[in-house]
Amino acid sequence: MSKEPVAVVGIGQTKHVAARRDVSIAGLVRDAARRALDDAELTWADIDAVVIGKAPDFFEGVMMPELYLADALGAVGKPMLRVHTAGSVGGSTALVAANLVAARVHSTVLTLAFEKQSESNAMWGLSLPIPFQQPLLAGAGGFFAPHVRAYMRRTGAPDTVGSLVAYKDRRNALKNPYAHLHEHDITLEKVQASPMLWDPIRYSETCPSSDGACAMVLTDRAGAARAPRPPAWMLGGAMRSEPTLFAGKDFVSPRAGKDCAADVYRQAGIADPRRDIDAVEMYVPFSWYEPMWLENLGFAEEGEGWKLTESGVTELDGDLPVNMSGGVLSANPIGASGMIRFAEAALQVRGQAGEHQVEGARRVLGHAYGGGSQFFSMWLVGSELPDS
C-alpha cells in the first residue's frame, strides 16, 4: 500500500519572547500561520484542514482553545483537530497533519502549535497535587534532575558537560532571529557561575518560559511541485509512548525513544545515523539531555554521548551539529517547542535557515519528547523526494 509523499512547503514562527502583551492568543497563532502561508505563497483558501497542538490547557487557562481559535486560523468550514501529547505535542501535531496528507485524505494541511505561557504560570500548571501520585515536584526540573544525576553516575561524565551544551545553544541562538534568549555577553564562565536550581541543573542550563507559535504547511507531491521554494520531504516519522513510572523503566535512555528512532530510521533507510544524518534539532530543555539523547537516538554508543558534546562534534561547525537554532534552551513556548524542532529541521534541508544554516544539510532529524520521558515523536526530513 503506497503512501503519498509529504512535503513541507511553508514555515512560520513568531519571535519568541517572555510575554507577548501586544497580541491575544488568537493574534499569536495567526502571526505564525500567516508567515507559513506567505512562505508557501498560499492563501487561507488553499488549506484543506487545520491540525493544532499545544501542551496542557491549564497553561493558558482556556479549555480546548481550538474552538475559540477556529476563526483566527481560517478553519471555519474545515476539519480541525487538536492534539495533546504533553511536551512532545508539537512533533505529534505535525505527524498527525502529515498523516492526513500521506493517507490522501487532504492535499494541503496547515499545522500549528503554540504556547502563551505569560497568560498563566506553567510551574503551577504542572504542580497540581493529586493523591497517591508523584507530583512533578515544582515544575519539570525537579522531575528530571535525578535522571541527569543517574546519567552522570552511569557514564562517568564530568560535571562540565552540561554547561558546554548551554553555552553552545545560547551562542547558536544569537544567529536565530526568532530565538527568545539573545545573550550577547554569554560566556562559559557565566553559565558555570549561574545559581544551582535542581542539582546538578544550573539556572543557565534550563529553558526559558516563552510565548510563541510555529506553523507549517504540509502538502502532497502536486502541491510541492507548485511550491515557490524548495520543499523539505518527510523521509520518516513516528511516535512512541511508554508508561510514566514502573520498575523496569530506564529514565536515562527510555526504550520508547530508542524504538521511535529505530522506526524513523527504518522508514528512511538510515543504516548508521551518525554517518547518514547531517544535523539534529533535539528537544533539550535541560542541557544534559543533549548527551543523553545522543545515545538514545543512536548517534553515540551507550555512555559515549558526552564525549561527542565535549569534543565539539555538536557545535554549529561540528561534524554533527545539534540545535543550530539555539534549541529549547533558547526558546520554550512549550506546546510549540516540538514543532519548532521539526520546522527547524525542515528549514535546514530547504537551505532556508539563514545564519544558522548548516552547509549542505540534506537529512536532518527533528525530535521531541514529553511527560516523564515517556512520549516521543520524531521525523527525518530530506532535500530529496523519497524513493518509494
Partner: protein, 348 residues
C-alpha cells in the same frame, strides 16, 4: 482507499458519580472488554489513540495516567487528542489508511462529577470577551432552543417528546444513566427544562478498528466506515445561525451520508433542541430510527459521548439491526464542531 471497520465496542455504566474510582480504574474494564471481544492483546494493536480533557480531570497531562492503564510496554505507537474520542477515532482511521497499522485501539473517558461541569465548560469560550462573563453550557443551549422556537422549527411540547422518546429507548440500554419515564421538570434556563438537558455523569468507552481482512477475522459482521468527516464553525455565536448546522451538513456530505438513505442514526445531541437542528441538517426523515440507545439525553459522559455514538451505531451493525447507520459527534458551544461517520454492514 483501504476498507476500515469498527470490530468491537465497549462502554461503562454511566453514573452521576464515581468517587470511588480513578479515571484509570473507570477505564480499565472497558479496555479489557474490547480486547476480549477480539482476542487481541495490547501488543497486537498497531496504533492507540485517546480523547479526554485535562480541564475535566482538574490536572495537567491527565491522559498520561490512562496510558499506564493501557499497559504501554513494550512501548506502543500512540497519540491523544484533547477532544471527544470520536476525533481520536478519526485520527486512528487516517493512521490505518496510511497502511502503517492494521488495527487500532481508541478510547475516551471523562468524569464530570468532581466539579460543576456547567462552570467548567464556560472555560471553552473566548477567554478575553466571553469567558469572563461565565455564560454556562445550558444557557447557551437555551439561546439556541429559543432561536429554534422563534423560527417556528419547534415548540416546547415537541422538545418534550424528543426527551421522552430518548429515555424510553434507553430502557433497553443497561449502560444509560437516565432511563424510562423522566419528568420534563421545571425550567432550568428558559425555554429548556431539566428534561431537555443531558444527565451529568462519568463514563468511558473504547472501540477497536481493523483494516480489510483483519476486520473480518476479528468480527462476524464488521461495521465498515464508508466515510467520515468533521467540520468546525465560527466560535462567536453572534455570527452563526443557531437554527442550522452547516458544519454537520458539510461533514455528512463529505462522509457520503446523502448518497443513500441510512436506517439508523446515533446523534450526539445533549439537548433536545439540538436533535431538531441535526435532524434537519442531516436530512433524517421519520423513517430513520434516531438514537435507539437513548442518545446523549440518556447518558452524556463528556469526551466519550461522541465516541459512544459511533460505537452504538457500529454495535447495531454488528447485531444485524442496521445495514447503514449514521453516527454523529459534536464539540463546542451550540454544536460548533461536528463529525459524521457512515457505517455499513455486509449484506446479511
Amino acid at each position: 482507499m483501504r476498507d476500515i471497520a469498527l470490530v468491537a465496542f465497549a462502554q461503562t455504566d454511566h453514573r452521576r458519580s464515581s468517587d470511588e474510582l480513578s479515571e484509570v480504574e473507570m477505564l480499565m474494564p472497558v479496555l479489557h472488554d474490547v480486547l476480549a471481544q477480539t482476542g487481541l492483546q495490547t501488543s497486537d494493536i498497531g496504533f492507540t489513540c485517546s480523547g479526554s480533557s485535562d480541564y475535566l480531570a482538574g490536572r495537567a497531562f491527565s491522559f498520561t495516567l490512562a496510558l499506564d492503564g493501557v499497559g504501554a510496554w513494550p512501548p506502543i505507537s500512540e497519540s491523544h487528542v484533547e477532544m471527544d474520542g470520536a476525533w481520536a477515532l478519526y485520527e486512528a482511521w487516517t493512521k490505518l489508511l496510511t497502511g502503517e497499522a492494521d488495527t487500532a485501539l481508541v478510547y475516551a473517558y471523562g468524569k464530570s462529577s468532581p466539579g460543576s461541569v456547567r462552570d467548567v465548560l464556560t472555560r471553552q469560550l473566548d477567554p478575553y470577551y466571553v469567558a469572563p462573563l461565565w455564560p454556562d453550557s445550558v444557557a447557551l443551549a437555551a439561546l439556541q432552543a429559543q432561536a429554534l422556537i422563534d423560527a417556528g422549527d419547534t415548540d416546547e411540547p415537541a422538545l418534550a417528546s424528543v426527551a421522552a422518546r430518548s429515555r424510553a429507548e434507553a430502557t433497553a440500554n443497561s449502560h444509560a444513566q437516565l432511563r424510562g419515564s423522566v419528568p420534563h421538570g421545571d425550567y432550568l434556563v428558559r425555554p429548556l427544562r431539566t428534561g431537555d438537558c443531558p444527565p451529568i455523569g462519568d463514563g468511558a468507552a473504547a472501540v477497536i478498528l481493523a483494516a480489510g481482512e483483519r476486520a473480518r477475522e476479528l468480527c462476524a459482521r464488521p461495521a465498515w466506515i464508508r466515510g467520515i468527516d468533521h467540520r468546525i464553525e465560527a466560535h462567536g455565536l453572534g455570527v452563526r445561525d443557531l437554527t442550522d448546522s452547516p458544519s454537520a451538513r458539510l461533514a455528512a456530505e463529505k462522509a457520503g451520508a446523502f448518497e443513500r438513505p441510512v436506517d439508523t442514526a446515533e446523534l450526539h445531541a445533549p439537548f433536545s433542541s439540538q436533535e431538531v437542528v441535526l435532524r434537519k441538517a442531516l436530512r433524517l426523515g421519520d423513517d430513520v430510527r434516531v438514537n435507539p440507545s437513548g442518545g446523549a439525553l440518556a447518558a452524556n459522559p463528556i469526551m466519550a459521548a461522541g465516541l459512544i455514538r459511533i460505537g452504538e451505531a457500529a454495535a447495531a451493525v454488528h447485531r444485524g439491526e442496521s445495514d447503514r447507520a449514521l453516527a454523529h459527534a459534536t464539540s463546542g458551544p451550540c454544536l460548533q464542531q461536528n463529525l459524521v461517520a457512515v457505517l455499513e454492514g455486509d449484506p446479511l
